[in-house]
């Protein structure tokens, strides 16, 4: 079977404002199977978000190739959902119009888009909040809007960039469980970027560890914990600690490297 996502020897460089070159990713290889839920962990600044931007087509690789369902990515394509780290719901649209945006951009009539949006709003637990503006919602509710906004388009691939990092632990666990429920009910492939190893293991089938920048895949781990999972309780399971320890051994060195570098550049 063709992997849902394949990045082969991908390098991404940026020009810095001071005229230098910053290499975010170097020779990154990565393949994600259809329907897989995988997480990408790594120290800050290792290019995790850049990886998602490349898969989405928002950014192009400097070298190497990005394939989605076997086809090279040449720009933003249909069938991809993206939940951003910061709030990206439209502040001037109501919850209903925010969720209906995707279908409307695809030329679906206002009425049908609204109908589908209502359905999705109910599915993410926001029924009754259709007419609110984002500023009237809590952070967790805004994330639900963002999730519904992405999922209404029926994406084959859902990219998530630390979507829950700004939420409190309880809300976060609820959202993670709901994400798993929504994911298991659909054939979607998920790439979930996080700096939280526990979150990565609880959610995923596979965890990629990225090295300190320039990022490349250091190792990947299968997570064989049974599903359906409850993320609030999964860490009490026997296998969890073992796999956490294994991945953490790998990740720790990278985190230390990145930390040392930050300290040095801060001191310089």
């Amino acid at each position: 079977m063709v992997p849902a996502i394949r990045l082969s020897s991908v390098t991404k460089r940026f020009l810095t404002p001071s005229g230098g070159v910053y290499t975010a990713l170097r020779d990154l290889d990565m393949a994600v199977e259809q329907g897989e839920f995988c997480s990408v962990v790594g120290p800050t600044g290792c290019g995790k978000s850049t990886t998602l931007a490349l898969i989405s087509g928002l950014e192009r690789p400097s070298e190497g190739e990005v394939l989605v369902s076997g086809k090279p990515v040449t720009g933003v394509m249909d069938g991809i959902g993206y939940v951003f780290q910061t709030d990206a719901v439209f502040p001037w649209k109501t919850v209903l119009d925010n969720v209906a945006a995707g279908p409307r951009y695809h030329g679906i009539s206002n009425r049908e888009a609204h109908e589908r949006a209502r359905d999705w709003i109910a599915r993410v637990g926001l029924a009754g909040f259709e007419d609110r503006f984002p500023y009237q919602l809590s952070g967790g509710m805004r994330k639900r809007v963002a999730l519904a906004q992405s999922l209404i388009n029926g994406p084959r691939i859902l990219l998530m960039d630390e979507p829950f990092s700004a939420l409190d632990v309880q809300t976060r666990n609820l959202m993670e469980n709901e994400l798993l429920a929504l994911w298991s009910a659909s054939p979607t492939t998920v790439v979930f970027v996080t700096h939280d190893l526990e979150e990565a293991i609880s959610l995923s089938d596979r965890v990629f560890v990225i090295t300190a920048g320039p990022g490349t895949v250091k190792s990947d781990y299968k997570v064989d914990l049974p599903r359906p999972r409850n993320v609030a309780e999964i860490r009490f399971q026997a296998g969890f600690t073992a796999i956490y320890q294994e991945i953490w051994n790998d990740l720790r060195d990278e985190v230390l490297v990145s930390y040392e570098r930050q300290k040095r550049s801060g001191a310089a």
Binding site: S56, L58, V76, D78, I80, G81, Y82, F84, T86, D87, A88, V89, F90, P91, W92, K93, T94, A101, G102, Y105, H106, A122, R123, V124, G125, L126, A127, G128, F133, P134, Y135, Q136, S138, G140, M141, R144, Q149, S150, N153, Q170, T171, L174, M175, E178, A181, L182
Partner: protein, 300 residues
């Protein structure tokens, strides 16, 4: 999943018996309207107080001889002048006609200037090449004291309303342009990325993300630019006119009628305040999605 999830329930407040809740809400409603009324009354009283103190000391100054009313006017004289204008007529004809003429010039200039400003601002804000090419010319044009263009327009467009509209619109254009330009530049990159991922084409991106996002900047500039349009219209009348509040002011000035000059200014101020109120209500309608400004809540 169906219906409301556990999380949504968590995010709502604990249940209270329905009757209790209804009584509380009613009570709260009454308290709220009372607090709001009291707040408004306080503001009104303070405003009147400022006017009484300001105008009172001016009047007192002229009566006691500290201030020469010939040069500096006198509130009672200004009020009398306004009364004469309203009940009888001005030296240029009926007062309403003067106000109407200036209002037309101002609104015309305001409309032309702000529409062009918005169009060019969005065009240049969204196109890096255009912005880099034209920015130097726009900065240069902005540095010219633009009221002198009024003289040019009086020659090229004649003494009718077009010259005044042109003068006013030139003043308005730059303010609105720079705001629209900046507004487009400041659009959150994340929102643009999100819209593109969701499937928006370039046209949708402009109408659904860039314009709404720049709108608060544009609307903020409209407050200032109506005042500028008024300046443009009045300056335009200076370069030659047969009617208008500005013309009325020059006529009074030429006759050493200081109170007439002040009375004209009162009329202009009233027009500006009226327009300000209209723009504010437009703004409130268009940017309903913005959280209330800090400190605008009344605590109860």
């Amino acid at each position: 999943m169906s219906g409301r999830s556990a999380a949504a329930r968590l995010e709502m407040t604990a249940p209270v018996s329905a009757a209790q809740e209804a009584a509380k809400v009613l009570n709260l409603g009454a308290r709220r309207s009372r607090a709001r009324r009291r707040h408004r009354l306080n503001i009104l009283v303070l405003r009147v107080l400022v006017a009484v103190v300001g105008l009172g000391s001016w009047e007192l100054g002229t009566r006691t001889g500290f201030i020469d009313p010939f040069f500096f006017g006198q509130p009672s004289g200004i009020a009398h002048q306004l009364w004469v204008w309203v009940t009888d007529e001005t030296s240029l004809g009926p007062l309403w006609l003067q106000v109407l003429v200036t209002f037309e010039e101002t609104v015309g200039g305001f409309a032309v200037g702000s529409i062009l400003g918005v169009i060019f601002g969005i065009l240049l804000g969204g196109n890096k090449l255009l912005a880099e090419v034209f920015s130097i010319y726009i900065k240069a044009a902005n540095a010219i004291p633009r009221v002198v263009l009024g003289a040019l327009f009086a020659i090229s467009l004649g003494l009718d309303i077009r010259a005044k509209i042109a003068t006013a619109s030139v003043l308005v254009f730059f303010v609105v342009f720079f705001n629209a330009f900046q507004g487009v530049r400041e659009v959150d990159r994340n929102l643009i990325a999100n819209a593109r991922i969701l499937g928006a084409d370039d046209r949708r991106l402009t109408t659904e993300v860039i314009i709404p996002s720049a709108l608060s900047w544009i609307l903020a500039s409209l407050h200032i630019s109506f005042g500028l349009a008024l300046v443009g219209a009045v300056v335009g009348e200076l370069f030659g006119a047969t009617a208008g509040v500005g013309e009325l002011i020059y006529y009074s000035e030429a006759n050493f009628n200081t109170n007439g000059v002040f009375a004209g200014m009162v009329l202009l101020a009233a027009m500006a305040l009226l327009a300000e109120a209209l723009i504010t209500s437009l703004e409130n309608r268009l940017v309903r999605w913005r959280p209330p400004a800090l400190g605008s809540e009344i605590q109860i």
